[in-house]
Amino acid sequence: MGVRRKMALRFDLIIFTILLFASPVLSDLILSKVDRRIDLTSQIVENEGSEPVSEVLLAFPDLQVKDLALLKASPHEGKGKVKSLSASLPVENVKPNGMPAALTFYAVKLPKALGKGDSYTFDVLAVFAHALRPFPEKITQADIQLVVFQESAFYLTPYVVKVQSLSVKLPESRIESYTKLENTKIHGSEIKYGPYENLPSFSYSPIVVHFESNQPFAVAQEVVREIEISHWGNVQVTEHYKLVHGGAQNKGEFSRLDYQARPTIRGASAFKYLIAKMPPRVHSVYYRDEIGNISTSNLWGDSKKTELLIEPRYPLFGGWRTAFTIGYGLPLKDFLFELEGNRFLNITFGSPMNELVIDNLIVKVVLPEGSGDISVSAPFPVNQWEETKLSHLDLTGRPVVVLQKTNVVPEHNQFFQVYYKFSKLSMLREPFMLIFGFFSLFVAGIVYMHVDMSISKSSAAYLARLQWDEVQAAIQQVENVINRCLTTHDKLEASLRDLSRTGDVQACKAARKAADGLLKELSKELKLVLSFLQSSSAASQILPKVEELVAKEKDLQEKVMAKHSTVVDCYEKKTGIRDSENRVAAQQQKITALRQEVENLLELIDEI
């Protein structure tokens, strides 16, 4: 239930020109456009004589002031055009003497003092929230919503007004009733009062406009925006909304079936969706509430903007409330800039929702852990304090700048800046913490594997285990040696094959010699291990197998040697190859059988 009134004021030393537009909070106009043009001759100023005047007072009733969202004065540029972004004139709250107590005054400082006869024109933009009142206050689902707007037909001012007019622009042409004064005209959906001439100061004439408005009155009782900066390339915005439909209360029952069947008739006053205008390149948008994701939303966009359409879980009728959270990520480089070693965040203050009046807006800017020298510059006055927030992998917490403002309207959607210092090195702290964490985990694992944790070092079980470990090591060694023997055999075989191919007896003999040496060494090693195994009591059950293995291997070795010498002999004596083959075949068969046995034994021992 917001009313936005745009008010432009034209100032003359002799003539004030005040333009006042009143338009609803929603850009498609809930209420009206109040077009107020007042010409007045300022007696006060003139009476002051040559004294230059440096400020102009604007008066508002106290009742309106509590809903005043924005008051802005700017020099007039061109006819009828109001540019809110042009350099504004400073406005401050003052309490001049001798003025009525029920009024609040704001003083607009003029850029230069006005002499007698000088004139100056400026625009004033005042935006009010909650200026519309639903009447009747309770309607059923099928009823249309009617609202009442109250204002004065004359501009309330401490100065004398020469000529003034007022026009009220309404959203729809259906007007239930309006106060008729002299000189009242109606053009379609616009009501014009005036012009009235030569009105004294503080003249007041109440008018009431009663008209139809099915525009939903979206009022957010509280919005918490959390802007979290990650220097890894993301600005995460999370917005928590507490929404209420501020229009006429719904009475009686709500029939979903009726609503589903004819939403425009049975639920005209219900509020169906909101559109959020987000920056381009927004990503990971979500929309949820306390009990989970809300599936009724739609996102589309192009390179200039992204639009998110969200529907609440249920159509909001008058007086119903809902709460939800939206969140989205933004690329860091669009919003964070560096300036002389300082960094600053440049981001909009208000919520991206269109047409939303926020009673209480809290903006929290969460800076990375370790940032300091924080300062904020905002285009309008806000309450400000600091907090800390503990998030992922934080030790001391992240500094949070909190800005709070009441009565926020879309006009407040301006950029504000947060300046802070942050060193690049602290960015690496969290990865290092993780690395260190995992590293220590693995170190702990290694330590656990290698440290003897048993309590009693002399218990039987402990000793047995130690012995068993030794035996296992010894057996591993035996296997090792045997395997090496087997590879040596393979080498000998290979040399024999070479011999049959090339006939190079000398090379073959050399191979034989090398193998002999190796085997001798290996057998020595084997003997050592075997003697250990024989002495150890824990090995008693496995010993016979091992001994068998060794014996078999020795056998095999002899056989291979024998075969080798036979073949070499054959070649040396140049006996027929066929002859040698016959003699070797018998030996070969034995060798294969033995080899099979040795391998089987090896596997058997392995399994034990």
């Binding site: 879980r313 007086g319 809902t322 503990l390 913490m433 296997e479 070969q588």
Partner: protein
Amino acid sequence: MVGKTESQNGAVKATAAPAMNLESDLFSNFSFKSFKLKTKQQELLLRVSILGLVYILAFITRLFSVLRYESMIHEFDPYFNYRTTLFLTEKGFYEFWNWFDSESWYPLGRIIGGTLYPGLMVTAAFIYWTLRFLRFAVHIREVCVLTAPFFASNTTVVAYFFGKEIWDSGAGLVAAAFIAICPGYISRSVAGSYDNEGVAIFALLLTFYLFVKAVNTGSLAWALASAFGYFYMVSAWGGYVFIINLIPLYVLVLLITGRYSMRLYVAYNCMYVLGMLLAMQIRFVGFQHVQSGEHMAAMGVFFLMQVFYFLDWVKYMLSDTKLFQAFLRITVTSAIAVGALALGVGTASGYISPWTGRFYSLLDPTYAKDNIPIIASVSEHQPTAWSSFMFDFHILLFLFPAGLYFCFKKLSDATIFIVMYGLTSMYFAGVMVRLILVATPAVCLISAIAVSATIKNLTSLLRTKSKTAVAGSSKGTGGSKASSKASFDQSQPFQKNGAIALLLGAFYLLSKYATHCTWVTSEAYSSPSIVLAARGAHGNRVIFDDYREAYFWLRQNTPPDAKVMSWWDYGYQITAMGNRTVIVDNNTWNNTHIATVGRAMSSYEDEAYEIMRSLDVDYVLVVFGGVTGYSSDDINKFLWMVRIGGGVFPVIKEPDYLVNGDYRVDKGAAPKMLNCL
């Protein structure tokens, strides 16, 4: 799209796991010849990595629900658990323990701390606090959603060790892979299914494993560990009664088959005494553990063990067998007489409470239908249909008997246990749908034994073959083949081909199982049941989120002290999501109260108004699914309201609402029925 690719990934991984098992067998035998030095380490590495993969697989296959829907709590009971966990993390353990909840069972209220199994909540809160301590700022909801998959992963590890204990490490690996994707288990442990069962199956299997380990080793430490496992189980789920009856039964069977040993004595006594003491610390169990009929078997067996021990000692002291025989007879008769007398006196004096209805209904499936409509009205308490066995177990159902065969072939203390576990839980699974869950680990383990043993036999067959082939080829160009080998070949001519065919068949079956599991998980078991999804006319997904719409409306737009009446199914959800007081909820502890609500629902409007005024009701929530074709709405449940209401208030008679024994709601319905609507 994401869901689809994920499902394929899941399928691939699922097939990979059993396949890798096969490979581990084959691999370690073939190509490691050259690296003989490191065989042990490599085997260990393989085993650990397979187990790790299975661990991850078990976790991610349960994330379908998060992908398809969102990270949310499912069904009915989990909402209560979530609410209590939230309370626990916010208010601390002491407050939780003494929590009197006035938001449910208005106007009676419910002593939450004393009437729930706190294991799940404490576990989730503990995980939450740990993560917080490690500086991970997670929300408690995410912890709750992922608790069940996390414990499912842990269960696979326990299954591996259990399989290793009862058979060998191969069987353990197969069991781990089976249980990771078995639909019977997944149905209760997808992400978001934050229910007692998710943790309890882990606790159940852990207790059994530790107990079997204790029996096998006779070690006091393992028995102690098993007692703690039992304690965890008691704190987590009412199904602990299964443990405390199965273990005594198992011990009894061992005693009867003459397998009594000191190991058994140590294991059982330590486990029972300590487990009992620990279990009594849970407020909800308390003295029931020594007083109620369900726990008497354990106590009886405990005394029997003492008698056995005493007899053993006497036998050792008495050298004369004849004298011992006489003594044996006297002792056994007197022991039985004393036991029976104690039981009789206890029951008669009311010290030992009789069995509860739920327990009866387990033993006799028809009991609930006749006597306790409220138990019979729950769909998961219905007897199981064959199709759902097939759906939940797939090939495990056929492998189960094969596994039993292998177990009987190699009978040991451990295999006897798994056989008994399998048979009893299979019976219970037949009685109640939800108990398929309890049977799942046993079925997986026994099937794993079958698969592992079969594959091991087949591969060892293949292995000897290939080895001779290798030896033959290494012989070179030698013309004469060894005649001995030829004869060996001829004795089993088709052995090798047969083995390969069987192996391929087994592999095919296993891959089918994996596909089936993935499909079931993604299609059937990942729905949160609060949000419904359907295919629209153009193939797009339409989401019905009406439940949450209603709950959220209640939460936002009713006065904070409003009382909401609904059928008891929705009680937990209204308190958790709507944050409003309800008259009855899913903890069906007061039958009369539910019957009152049933009566209010099934009376004429003016009578119902009186009843509701007397209960202080501000809002009534009814569910109607006629527009969207949602079948489990209140019209469907209406007969149960009538039955349960009629069970307490004889004014309500079921035949009044039926037309010739049919239930219909159209214009041919019974007049009383129409008037109540």
